[in-house]
Amino acid sequence: MDMLLSSPTFVFIQVLNSISLGMNLFIIAAGLSLIFGVLRVINFAHGVFYMFGAYIMYTVAQDLELGFVTGVIAAAAGLAVIAIVVERGLFQWLYGKEHLMQLLLTFAIVLIMGDLAKIIWGTDQLSVSYPDGMSGALNLGITFYPTYRLMLAVIGPVIFIGLFLLIERTRWGRLTRAATQDMEMLSALGINVPVIYVTIFLIGAALAGVGGALAAPINSPTPGMDATIIVECFVIVIIGGLGSLWGTFVGALIYGFVFNFGSVIVPNWQDVFAFLLLMVVLLIRPWGLFGKPEREGH
């Protein structure tokens, strides 16, 4: 606390900490939000997708030594394959059914994939090295800051802009948005809605995989890592508005700042502030800062 008041450099570092944490979380939460936005599925398995991304990174980059970038690509590809299997094999039968059924299904996937991870990778806490040239810190003039964290802070916005352009500025994006409005009408117009659905699910899962792969050097791949991340992601998307890309981006930043400055100001209460904010949002604006109220009869 004293350091916050006395040292501008310290404040600056905390700002960077907040942004890099927020951006790492954004990559993962964006997938969750995207899947909900179009498919209307609250995907509890998103955390376990993230965990698989981290584990795949371990196998590719650490174990097989094929390089960091290959690890990220493999994580995205691996999760894309899993997504196709899960969406075509399971989810497609549940669209339009009760939310409870979908929740139970995603929860079953969490348990099955959690056990699978243990069978494949064991139960040890693993560790992934930083990519070459990124294990140090960069001189920013007023202070040094870890290079890898800075990279995360840049990748987040790049993904945000990419997703934004895809959904807001392409024909395919317009179809996707139309699918959220009226899927039957879209079908009647001769659009292949199932392809839209599986693609969205695939992009969402791949984002979780990439997020996990990128988190692996700072976040040891270990059983149970899915449980922590899914809570953080839900806090972010609920604050920002489930289904809203802007909301997820802003929500992730808010979470980063609240978590970091909360940890500094009241060290023993680091989680409380984010959850307090969540409660306030739920009470005053349950659809989130950037979300839209759910219409009846959707």
Partner: protein
Amino acid sequence: MGSILRTTVVAAALVAAGASVVQAEIRIGVLYPIAGTGAVYGTPAMHGHNMGVDEVNAAGGILGQKVVTFARDTKLKPAAAAAAAKELITKEDVQILIGGLSSAVGLAISEVARQEGIVYIATIPKTIQMTTKKLHKYVFRTASHTDFEGDAIGQLVKKLGKKSVCDIQLDYAYGHDLAAGIEKGLAKHAPDAKKVIDLRSKLGATDYNAQITQILGSGCDVVTSGLWGSHFVNFAQQAGPFGLFDKVTYISGGEIASHEIAGKMGKDYPKNVISNTYELWYDHSFPGHKKFQADLAKRSGKKETAMWPVLAYIGVKFVAAAAEKAGSMDADKLSAALEGMSIDTPVGKRTIDPKTHQADAGQFWGPMVKKDGVDYRVMSPVTFFPAKLD
């Protein structure tokens, strides 16, 4: 009529036979986290437990009866552990409980043991409360505890001549108790050392940047800690680029010197770390360790074995020794037998204090250094800190 009577007699005989079959075995309830985050420890602990049970059975069992294990997953949650302990006692008729991992879980099992009047041997939980404030007739601990750890850390701070201390702990029973243990250790051994900052992270925390930058901003020359397992891996990976390990010595409890951490982190394991472990696969200071390690290696299929098995193994050996001494599995007799009992283990002799029910579980402490031709850090020199607070 006669046939009905005969059937009844036969049925009664069968029931009696069934009951006697049930009683012809020693039923041990064992509680470790087998799934989720805690599986990192629970799985190797089960290896050690099963190895202990197999050895006991190969030597003729306990009181001439075969030992059978009933294992339950604590899920690292006190409520789940308490429910599982109750279920083991009421449904499986276990005669003793062993295990526990995480201080909160240990305290929860201990409470069930007290209510149900059954002996519980805590093999891993380290909170001091278990053998002080929350001590009762049926709870025994064969693990170390937070005051021993804190005392060793105090001695090391003194030895290195460090003057300002940053303490970072996990925000639950173990972290709080270790912080208190370190305070006592510092007051006793290094009264000149000043605590500069106290930091707490939640159990399961993954982001430590806020804490790392506070440590660096506070200018301390030593960090004391108890971040264990993946908490330490995450902290170290995140603190490395900030140059934290160039600036401070990191003295930690939580057994991060164990090979399961050092081996998995490999070249990423930071420098300037001094920590503890109950056992090192490459250190044969005590007689019997070589054979124990070789057997364990065969069982786990790895030359470089983990540290957790020895704790579970010691728990089983205490049960066997106590039952033989008591001549029964009766809880009161077992409790009496365990008080003051000594056994030889692969990591030295262990004696249970009759008053506190705490075993003198010493630990190995030392700096983690690089060694030629080995791609992970090893402890060298290895120093055994006996569990004594005088």
